[in-house]
């Protein structure tokens, strides 16, 4: 008998246009001490399963069929009161964002003690002692002191440790962890995952680990279930599912994961569910105007670039304090090269990109583009015509109140390159080249999926036929199969149009697949700068070595 058994679970959400089946006849079984991964792309229904187990489904969703049983006893039909008695005591949960999961007005100790006392019959002194033990268990230094501190006094990684302590302190049998490390940096992600792994084994707790990240699955889980459109399409040991996937969807998913260990020319796309759109690079290349290039001369020379932000304002300039976001960074980008910048959040990589894009004024150093110094220049219009940018979040990079044709046409129209019929013609052509139809131009952004939006974003960037493209985390908000498509498109652009790119990402495997050379940033400083392959195989700096060691190994996945 398994610890937690889910049979034929179906969850429905009635909407305006009909009933949406979020989970469709799902079967799962979780053993004590085992980490069971639940992987799938957004909208696959994996978080809904977690909420259904907890009895915390958002309205108007409801369980329409199937059973959930804990240690052989059915819990799916329970009333509110019995469910509440079950929560915490037997099943607990870890949320995604540690910054919002703790009550800001209560001390960490208060929150631990009240949870312990709600479930175990202990005096407050004993509960306090127990709370300190749990903080120690999740490796919070000086637990006796820090127990009386408020959540805002801890860092993000620390807070997630406290969240784990809170989930554990009621001694539950099952913990549901919903994307527990998605909001964290890789270095902290690795620590949190190994903590979860260790605690699950020691305390014999069954863990359901919900994630979209194949790397997390490969490194952490014992058993994995793959979800697609509400259905569990495949379940097996992690080694078996990743190594010998049976289902076509699992195969397509795994083939789309960027490999950390070797560079591939393109992502082999095993398409599933008819979601792939052709990107017509040949058609695009024929109309692209060629620029004479001198391969000897770098397109970009960045020297000693510095940016400071005001941290505390004061009337007297001497009393103002600044934080240095980018500190004396220098690099060159050759014609037709993809230069990558990698770093954790707060390392200054996005600030750097925005300075180069002319969005932030610089506080020091020079940017030279094609022989011309454009640092804080008055008239940037000539430069702006030659650069374009692809943004991180396709849900925020398209103005929701503008039609697609107006969005794509805006840069060309603004630079007075095209107008009227010619502009419309160009927009239609671009839409078809990126794999959408010309009819899409008459629609609004909300009518498209994330991947389609990112294609629209690319079409907008290409409309002015730029020479230089800045990609700021262009795929980090996308599902892995869409990411593979978009990265292939970017590779095409670089190869066929000889576009020069600055590629910014926190994701090391993606960097390895995309870039010719890489710069590693830490706290505003570029610590290392080398050819990509050399950097990955033989990192010089301690920080780079550390970053690489946190990279998911994807052991067990065969290279295609």
């Amino acid at each position: 008998m398994a610890l937690l058994d889910i049979e034929n679970l179906t969850v429905k959400f009635p909407t305006r246009t009909g009933v949406f089946v979020a989970v469709d006849q799902a079967n799962l079984s979780i053993e004590p001490g085992q980490i069971h991964g639940l992987v799938g792309e957004s909208g696959a229904g994996k978080s809904t399963i977690g909420a259904a187990i907890m009895g915390l489904l958002e309205k108007p969703g409801y369980i329409s069929g199937g059973t959930i049983s804990l240690k052989g006893k059915s819990i799916s039909g329970l009333d509110k009161a019995s469910l509440q008695a079950l929560r915490g005591k037997q099943i607990s949960m870890i949320f995604q964002d540690p910054l919002t999961s703790l009550n800001p007005l209560l001390t960490v100790g208060d929150q631990l003690v009240e949870t312990i006392q709600a479930h175990l019959d202990l005096t407050s002194g004993q509960a306090q002692q127990r709370a300190i033990e749990y903080l120690e268990l999740v490796r919070i230094p000086e637990p006796e002191v820090r127990i009386d501190q408020f959540p805002h006094q801890f860092s993000g990684g620390m807070r997630q440790r406290i969240v784990i302590a809170l989930a554990l302190c009621s001694e539950p049998d099952v913990i549901i962890a919903d994307e527990p490390t998605t909001a964290l940096d890789v270095s902290i992600q690795a620590q949190i995952l190994s903590l979860i792994k260790e605690l699950a084994r020691d305390k014999q707790v069954g863990v359901i680990l919900i994630t979209h990240d194949m790397g997390v699955i490969a490194d952490t889980t014992d058993v994995v279930s793959v979800m697609y459109q509400g259905k569990v399409v495949e379940t097996g040991t992690t080694a078996q599912v990743l190594g010998e996937p049976n289902h076509a969807y699992t195969q397509s998913l795994i083939s789309a994961v960027p490999r950390p260990d070797e560079k591939m020319h393109r992502f082999p796309l095993v398409s599933y569910g008819g979601r792939s759109h052709e990107f017509n690079i040949e058609s695009l290349a024929t109309s692209w105007k060629k620029v004479d290039i001198d391969p000897e001369k770098p397109l970009f020379e960045v020297s000693n670039l510095t940016k400071r932000f005001l941290k505390k304002s004061a009337l007297l300039p001497s009393k103002q304090t600044f934080s240095t976001a980018v500190d004396g960074v220098s690099f060159n980008i050759q014609q037709g090269e993809v230069f990558g910048i990698v770093g954790e959040s707060g390392s200054g990589k996005s600030t750097l990109a925005r300075m180069i894009a002319g969005l932030y004024p610089t506080d020091g150093g020079h940017i030279v583009f094609d022989g011309q110094d454009i640092t804080n220049a008055k008239d940037l219009s000539d430069y702006r015509r030659q650069i374009q940018m692809i943004f991180q979040d396709p849900y925020s990079s398209l103005n929701p109140r503008m039609r697609i044709d107006a969005i794509i046409g805006e840069p060309a129209k603004h630079h007075k390159l095209l107008s009227g019929k010619a502009l419309q013609h160009r927009v239609d052509e671009l839409l078809e080249q990126v794999g959408l139809s010309a009819a899409a131009g008459k629609k609004y952004p909300h009518e498209f999926s994330g991947g389609q939006r990112q294609r629209i974003s690319i079409a907008r960037a290409l409309a002015t036929q730029p020479r230089f493209l800045i990609c700021d985390e262009p795929t980090s908000a996308l599902d892995v199969s869409i990411q593979a498509q978009i990265l292939n498109i970017l590779k095409d652009l670089q190869e066929h149009l000889n576009l020069t790119m600055l590629f910014i990402s926190h994701d090391l495997p993606v960097i390895r697949q995309m870039c010719d050379r890489v710069g590693v940033m830490q706290n505003g400083i570029m610590v290392e700068q080398r050819e990509t392959e050399a950097l990955f195989t033989n990192p010089q700096r301690a920080y780079t070595q550390e970053l690489l060691s946190f990279m998911p190994t994807l052991r067990g996945i065969k290279s295609a």
Binding site: R16, R354, A357, G358, L359, L380, S381, R384, I387, Q388, M389, F391, Q392, D393, S396, S397, L398, N399, P400, R401, M402, I407, E410, P411, H414, H415, R460, T464
Partner: protein
């Protein structure tokens, strides 16, 4: 009912309106009887105010039609002296109460709409500027807003009204009273708009589509006008509806206190002020009917505003 109506006639409408009618918004409206009823009531009140000169049985401000003998006629009964009947009775001057209500509503609605429009234009512009430009411009605008917010708007309106009254020569006071009223209510209410628009602008400013526009070098006024403004308007609609109810109430309050609409242009508030003095002597209709009209007006607008807020902010339910 509404959806059926829409689908039947939608083929005649231009595409833009057709997609608007087929939206989630209309779907939600069609499923909320309360919203439909309040909308219909409000629309009827507005229409009867607009067409008052054609609908009202009498022109209460035409001295020729007034007969003091008609004074104090109870509703729907014949006058003892003249035999004249009034649906809702007549007041001390022999004016038809229904007609004074229709004309009074014109003033109330005119002041309400104009004041909200004024507050909206002022608040949206300042909120956009403060939110988008930030820095000291933001600090100055929002400090002023904070300070004004500490002073309740009805008090601010009274003060502005009092100051205007003091500054203006006596002979213009009555003539300009309506405009002074509009400006004082409008000035007392811009803060709500500015705060909401500033907040929404700060959110929108961080979105990447704004960065995409900055990247190609679009000038700031165009970014604010073309990119940000259309995206911050939906909360403005909610605030505007709630503000309309508040403005109508504020106007009525000021007029009731005798510091609003002049006696020559009586609004609903003025009518209630007049009616109050007959409360003790038993002529209840002079007070009751204008009071009910004011309540119906404010209530229907508030219901609409409440529904709009729930609909446009789905997370709030």
């Amino acid at each position: 009912m509404l959806t059926r109506f829409c689908s039947k006639w939608s083929c005649l409408l231009p595409e833009r309106i057709r997609t608007a009618l087929d939206s989630d918004f209309m779907w939600r409206l069609s499923r909320s009887p309360v919203a439909i009823v309040s909308f219909v009531v409000f629309a009827l009140l507005v229409l009867s105010a607009v067409f008052a000169p054609w609908i009202a049985p009498f022109n209460p401000y035409d001295p020729a039609s007034l007969d003091l003998m008609n004074g104090f006629t109870p509703p729907a009964t014949a006058n003892d002296f003249t035999g004249q009947r009034f649906l809702l009775g007549s007041d001390d001057q022999g004016r038809d109460v229904l007609s004074t209500i229709l004309y009074g509503m014109r003033i109330s609605l005119f002041v309400g709409f104009s004041a909200v429009l004024f507050a909206m234009v002022l608040g949206i512009s300042l909120g956009l500027i403060a939110g988008y430009l930030g820095g000291w411009v933001d600090t100055v605008i929002m400090r002023i807003a904070d300070v004004q917010l500490t002073f309740p708007s009805i008090l601010v309106a009274m003060l502005i009204f009092g100051i205007a009254k003091g500054v203006m020569p006596a002979e213009y006071r009555d003539q300009m009273a309506i405009w002074v009223l509009i400006i004082s209510i409008g000035l007392s209410d811009w803060v709500q708009f500015a705060r909401v628009v500033r907040g929404a602008t700060l959110v929108e400013k961080g979105r990447e589509y704004v960065m995409a526009a900055q990247l190609i070098g679009q000038p700031t006024p165009i970014i604010m006008w073309r990119h940000i403004l259309p995206n911050v308007l939906s909360p403005v609609l909610v605030i505007a509806t709630i503000s309309l109810a508040l403005a109508i109430i504020a106007e009525a309050t000021l007029s009731f206190l005798g510091v609003g609409a002049p006696p020559t242009q009586p609004s609903l508030g003025t009518l209630i002020r007049i009616g109050q003095s007959f409360m003790f002597s038993g002529e209840w209709w002079i007070l009751l009917f204008p009071a009910c009209t004011l309540l119906a007006l404010a209530f229907s607008v508030n219901l609409l505003g409440d529904w709009l807020r729930d609909t446009l902010n789905p997370k709030l339910r």
